[in-house]
Amino acid sequence: MNNKQKIALLIGFIFILAFAGYWQLSGGEILSKDGVWIEKEQSDLDKLLGLEPEMEFKEQFIIGLIPHTLGFTGIVVAITGILLFFLRTKKKENK
């Protein structure tokens, strides 16, 4: 492996690591989500009635391992693979 190939591999690895970190910080969900259920603020009367907080849906994109994180990782691996192929050291033909 030549120096250019090593750099391409390192950049690819950094991209994957950064995206995996972003996914983990976003909640580490397995599947991507379009929104989350959140608890509404309870009135004093609802508390007196012993009810649990009402839930409401809030639209919010949450990145998941499937399909987005794995998809991105696959693209980076493919590009890195192509770069490794094209950056390989070509043997000079002996005449």
Binding site: D34, W37, L48, L49, G50, E54
Partner: protein
């Protein structure tokens, strides 16, 4: 001495078992509470957890009524209906799958119904609040199975505060129970992968005894 202690213990247990347990509120006798809320504030939640995904389904379309003697909660009877067709999970496509014939078949069975049969293990928590186990027939997808639910029930006498929600005395009911989907002939091929077979159902409803 031991005989006397045994006698006292048995007497106390018997007294707890024999004496009716209910609410100590202004109202007395039989009361009927209706759970229809035109503002859709009553809520039933369905929760499925699998390693792949947690799914929460919610509906505010609940109706039904219960009747009981205020001083004896074991007399409770009635039924609660939950609209299957209006369950929302937050993803429209998933809601369509849920309502489809492969799943809950909302067109043929638009409602899940809990019909109360028996109340046991009543514990008075406060004068107007008690906990109990409610046994009933739960029906969905055309199948009826007996389930046992944990219920916490709170009785509020009518006041200026309660009138903001509805006229009459209010009954706050919080119920939790689990069902096994395959027991109700819901055997979709993705069951157990993205949706658990074991579903936790939680119902939060408020009824009024106003005529």
């Amino acid at each position: 001495m031991k005989v006397i202690i045994k006698f006292i213990v048995i007497a106390v247990i018997s007294a707890v078992a024999i004496f009716p347990q209910g609410f100590n509120v202004k109202a007395t006798g039989g009361q009927t509470f209706s759970f229809e809320d035109k503002y859709g504030r009553n809520q039933a939640t369905f929760f499925s957890t699998t390693p792949l995904e947690d799914i929460t389904g919610i509906t505010n379309n609940i109706k039904g009524s219960v009747t009981f003697n205020v001083n004896d909660f074991s007399t409770l009877n009635g039924k609660i209906s939950i609209s299957v067709a209006s369950i929302k999970t937050g993803i429209d496509l998933r809601d369509e799958h849920l309502r489809s014939a492969n799943w809950l078949d909302a067109e043929s069975y638009p409602e899940a119904v809990f019909e109360i049969k028996k109340v046991s293990d009543i514990q008075v928590l406060e004068q107007n609040k008690l906990k109990a186990q409610v046994t009933g027939d739960f029906s969905t997808h055309g199948v009826i199975k007996e389930v046992v639910a944990d219920a916490t029930v709170t009785y509020l006498d009518e006041s200026e505060d309660t009138k903001k929600r509805a006229a009459g005395d209010l009954l706050g009911v919080q119920v939790k129970f689990n069902i096994i989907l395959s027991d109700f002939d819901v055997d979709n091929m993705v069951l157990g992968q993205k949706v658990s077979d074991d579903i936790e159902i939680s119902v939060n409803i408020v009824g009024s005894n106003a005529q």
